[in-house]
């Protein structure tokens, strides 16, 4: 089990800058105010500093694992089966009308 120093004592290099945080937040469709962005930056730098240990391992000749069991691609016959009714599918929509989900206007 890894032994960690207290995070405030960690001299973590700044892998992620505040501009990186803003860029990632935009990709993730999240907003952070300045205080929260600083906190996220520190947290991410601390975590990335920790995961950097993976670079101790030489993995040049190792295949990546995306899925643990050897399951073949599953196919099925193209048969029509019952699915959710329009009413059920819209039952949790915050806004709907005319059998559709409603969103703010996209095209002027």
């Amino acid at each position: 089990m890894p032994v960690l120093s207290e995070s405030e004592d960690n001299n973590v290099s700044e892998t992620i800058s505040i501009n990186d945080v803003k860029h990632i937040a935009t990709l993730a469709r999240l907003k952070f105010d300045d205080t929260a962005a600083e906190k996220i930056k520190d947290d991410l730098n601390s975590i990335l500093g920790y995961v950097d240990k993976l670079n101790e391992l030489n993995t040049d000749d190792v295949e990546p694992t995306s899925h643990t069991l050897d399951i073949c691609t599953v196919t099925r016959a193209d048969e029509v089966k019952p699915s959710l009714s329009n009413e059920d599918a819209l039952s949790n929509a915050p806004s709907s009308g005319n059998a559709h989900f409603k969103v703010p206007k996209v095209i002027e």
Partner: protein
């Protein structure tokens, strides 16, 4: 014998022989929820129809109708299992009030077997956490000491069983989320092999790691529940096409000659002395029972936590992209579509969920994908190979479930990595994909429960359940906290 002490077979027999009715049994648990849940805070939602469903089964029974095996027995569900006619919130403000229009496969299999759903149990938001403190509505506490956390993310599922607020429950385990809270609450919790239980209707966290499993007072109850939900399902393309079986038949209690590996990496620095003593004693107990204990090494153990937190957050950032505020869940005020996405997600998600989405988005982003995500997938291969090699020599692996017993609420909330370390002994198994369970093996100096973990090869649930069963027969660590006994 009190209802609290009965196992699933005794409950089924008691109903069949009309020793008690399903309505009485259900009311017994509803009364306990009423009495104790203000303190334990396990339930996000109590099913108001449970008693009527129980009465309907009693009526069918009185007419002599054929009933399924477990008709009229209550169960409760982690609040990320999709259920109809009641909310599924994942303990997130984003899904407050969400009532899914369909039922997930595991829940549907429970219903077909006649179980009565008592309600939905609190959890860390979207299953991200190890203490239940990331729950948006109810931060479940440990029934053994309500100043302390129950573990997580299936904290409500573990606490409900420990407090006798349900005879057994279902949870989900992505990096230890069934086994760690089971250990901290003194119950049995099992993560089946990846692919054993359908994930259809399990709200996704990290799809290559998530698995539904039972939490219960005994290996026997866990085996019975797994027998019901462990079925191939065409609705989940990762569901393994293996035969459904009755795991209770594996519980012979005979374990002589079974080879159990003791991995040295799991007994190193950072393990609390009380936990180490209890787990060492469990190892000795298995030797007494005739098992062969063999020292083994899982050399890449030290890299599992880093690997896990890259892969799980990457998958989570992708899976949680679906929460857009349009089709279901929270929608924030916004003048345009772009702001609608930003505002809905920013208002709806809690801090830990945002932190993980951010980390996952970063490791998948252009320029960092190879350095972090592909690198972690490669190390996952090495971790998996450690287990593959180990299972050439041994039948099962024994180790602690969590490095500590339950800690005080608030003790680790400021330091994400310290919190993540609660799962350091459980998450390797998810990366490998095999099965594992935690079974109570003692108490620390404060009287808090300790669990020992048994890890098995792919689809070897029967073997580790039998090992747990044999251990239970030889020990006496499963109990309800004194103050919660009626």
């Amino acid at each position: 014998m009190s209802i609290l002490n009965k196992n699933i077979k005794e409950l089924a027999d008691g109903l069949a022989s009309k020793e008690f009715s399903s309505a009485e049994l259900t009311q017994f648990y509803l009364d306990r929820i009423e009495k104790y849940d203000d303190e334990v805070k396990a339930y996000n939602y109590v099913n108001e129809n449970a008693i009527n469903q129980a009465k309907a089964i009693d009526e069918k029974r009185s007419k002599g109708e054929d009933l399924p095996q477990f008709a009229g027995i209550p169960v409760a569900l982690k609040d990320l299992l999709i259920t109809k006619d009641m909310p599924t919130t994942c303990s997130s403000k984003f899904l407050e009030g969400f009532k899914p229009p369909y039922v997930g496969t595991a829940v549907s299999l429970l219903e077909e077997s006649g179980f009565i759903n008592l309600g939905k149990l609190s959890m860390d938001e979207f299953a991200m956490g190890s203490s239940n403190e990331n729950a948006a509505f109810k931060q479940t506490r440990n029934p053994w000491d309500t100043e302390k956390v129950p573990g997580g993310s299936s904290g409500g599922s573990a606490a409900a069983v420990a407090a006798g607020l349900a005879p057994f429950t279902l949870g989900s385990d992505t990096g230890g989320s069934i086994r760690q809270p089971a250990s901290l609450c003194g119950v049995v919790g099992m993560k089946p092999t990846y692919g054993r239980v359908s994930r259809f209707g399990l709200v996704a966290f990290a799809s290559s790691l998530d698995q539904i499993g039972p939490l219960a007072k005994s290996a026997y109850d866990s085996a019975a529940l797994l027998s019901v939900i462990g079925k191939h399902d065409a609705k989940d393309s990762t569901s393994a096409n293996v035969e459904q079986k009755d795991y209770t038949k594996d519980l012979t209690g005979y374990v002589k000659g079974i080879k159990i590996g003791v991995p040295k990496e799991y007994f190193a620095d950072g393990l609390s002395p009380d936990v180490k003593t209890a787990v060492d004693n469990a190892v000795k107990k298995y030797a007494d029972l005739g098992c062969k204990l063999i020292d083994i090494s899982l050399p890449h153990t030290d890299y599992a936590l880093a690997t896990y937190y890259i892969l799980a957050t990457a998958e989570a950032s992708s899976n949680l992209g679906r929460y857009d505020g349009i089709r279901y869940g929270r929608r924030a005020e916004a003048d345009n579509l772009r702001d609608l996405y930003f505002n809905s997600r920013t208002e709806g998600f809690g801090d830990e969920v945002k932190r993980r989405i951010m980390l996952g988005t970063y490791v998948l982003s252009a320029g960092y994908y190879d350095a972090y995500y592909i690198k972690a997938q490669k190390v996952r291969t090495l971790i998996k190979q450690d287990f593959v090699e180990a299972y050439k020599k041994v039948d099962a692996i024994i180790c602690p479930t969590s490095p500590t017993t339950a800690f005080k609420a608030g003790a680790k909330t400021e330091d994400p990595i310290q919190m993540y370390l609660s799962d350091v002994y459980t998450l390797s198994l998810n990366l490998f994909g095999g099965c594992g369970l935690s079974v109570p093996c003692g108490f620390d100096s404060d009287g808090m429960p300790i669990g020992v973990q048994l890890m098995g090869n792919y689809f070897d649930e029967g073997l580790i359940l039998n090992l747990a069963h044999a251990f239970e027969q030889a020990t006496d660590f499963s109990r309800i906290p004194e103050k919660l006994k009626i």
